[in-house]
């Protein structure tokens, strides 16, 4: 089985079939993951497009550290931030809110057990605080990038991050 790194080497050498294989492997989760952060489907598609065009052009720059998937995501999330910066009218806030009401109490308990206290504490954060935690901690974005992604001022990102930290500390104490 060809690994992602081998595929990327082939892409760097100009192989289109290798790029297509990479696309088949990584496009679906990329669409889902971007859709959690941007409610505009057209913008998500455009970002996926930009991402793989960038992969095609800069495959040679992949340093060989970390997973290819993580590298691709690093390109994708920044392309999304760029796209949002260009068209601020697009809704930046991830509107795919977890619909907690559809989940049974039993499921929620199981989830709490499975993922421990931290998961439960994260889930109890308000959507605004959670979005900031996701963007900065999980996506590894800078304050400025997170601000563009969420469509809020950078100062707000900082205060919300502080509030989220305080809330989590209290929950986990």
């Amino acid at each position: 089985m060809t690994t992602d790194v081998e595929l990327l080497d082939a892409v760097a050498a100009g192989s289109r079939t290798a790029l297509e294989e990479l696309y088949r492997r990584h496009s679906a989760w990329l669409v889902l993951r971007l859709s959690r952060r941007c409610s505009d489907g057209g913008l998500v598609d455009e970002t996926v497009q930009d991402t793989f065009v960038a992969v095609w052009r800069s495959a040679g720059k992949y340093a060989g550290q970390g997973d290819v998937g993580a590298w691709v995501w690093g390109i994708a999330i920044r392309r999304l931030v760029d796209a949002l910066r260009r068209s601020p009218r697009a809704t930046a806030v991830p509107l795919a809110e977890p619909r907690e009401t559809e989940r049974s109490a039993e499921e929620r308990v199981l989830e709490g057990v499975q993922y421990g206290a931290l998961g439960g504490a994260l889930n109890r954060l308000s959507p605004e605080l959670r979005a900031v935690v996701e963007a900065t901690v999980l996506d590894g974005l800078s304050t400025k990038e997170a601000a563009t992604l969420l469509g809020i001022p950078a100062g707000t990102v900082k205060t919300r991050m502080m509030r989220a930290r305080a809330a989590l500390r209290e929950e986990l104490a």
């Binding site: 696309y23 990584h26 679906a28 889902l32 989940r103 935690v133």
Partner: protein, 272 residues
């Protein structure tokens, strides 16, 4: 590849957008490095959508990359189509820039070596004519491989001509100014600018009657005669005087007026 996999129910929740933040974080950190879980997520995204995006990617990687110049122009707010037209300016594609630098450097050398008293004849002879030649070489059936397309396209030929002239003047004036500033004579640094503008406009105006190459030649020869005559009479300093400046301004205004008045003749040029 790990042996641990995300539970099927969690993948379903994630794909449906109903997963909580902990599950989502767990899925998102695992899926990029696990082919099985990534494949399990695939059915959640419409295959037609992914195919459409792939088709667009294919189209884009087949396109030639936009040149550095085009991207720079686009970055400063020039429209895509204008940027492409400017980048296709023949001068910028050929060795024009190199030859320009060479000619200007020769003028500089000749002036420095030949002048005890800061004789700027050669500079004044050449510097205003360089943009004229440049503009002439930027447009017309003899220079532009896309000329037929240009004339047939629903796009004002004058607009294109002016855009290109502006590009050429930009590069020309930059190079010449760099050379002129190195001149020992302070007058040399600015004396050629007004004549250059006037002569270029005169060329464009003449080009509404004549072929642009003929127009450029006529203007260059006319200028050479004027400079030659002044040099013979040892009155070169007159070129920097008030009368000469006024003359240049008048010529520029007159040429601009003619150009605006007769702009339609460019669009008809293709028919002759």
């Amino acid at each position: 590849m790990t042996t641990w996999h995300v539970a099927a129910a969690d993948l379903r929740d994630y794909a449906a957008g109903t997963a909580g933040v902990a599950v989502a974080a767990s899925v998102e950190s695992h899926v990029p490095r696990c082919r099985d879980c990534a494949a399990a997520l695939s059915p959640a995204v419409d295959a037609g959508r992914l195919d459409a995006v792939w088709a667009e990617i294919g189209d884009r990687i087949d396109l030639p990359r936009r040149s550095l110049l085009e991207r720079a122009l686009a970055a400063v707010g020039v429209r895509d189509t204008d940027a492409r037209l400017l980048a296709a300016t023949p001068n910028l594609r050929s060795g024009w820039f190199g030859s320009l630098t060479l000619v200007a450097a020769f003028a500089f050398l000749a002036t420095v070596l030949g002048a005890g008293r800061g004789d700027i004849t050669l500079l004044l002879l050449l510097a205003p004519v360089l943009p004229v030649i440049g503009v002439a070489a930027a447009f017309g059936p003899h220079a532009d491989p896309t000329y037929d397309l240009t004339v047939a396209a629903p796009y004002s030929v004058l607009r294109l001509l002016l855009l290109r002239a502006a590009t050429v003047l930009g590069t020309c004036v930059t190079v010449t100014a760099a050379i002129a500033f190195a001149m020992p004579d302070a007058a040399a640094t600015t004396a050629w600018l007004l004549p250059a503008l006037a002569l270029t406009l005169a060329t464009l105006a003449l080009a509404t009657w004549l072929d642009i190459a003929v127009a450029a030649t006529a203007v260059a020869v006319g200028w050479a005669v004027v400079v030659g005559e002044l040099a013979r009479r040892d009155e070169m300093t007159d070129l920097n005087g008030g009368a000469a400046r006024l003359g240049c301004v008048l010529l520029a205004v007159l040429a601009a007026a003619v150009l605006v008045q007769r702009r339609r003749h460019f669009d008809q040029e293709g028919s002759r």
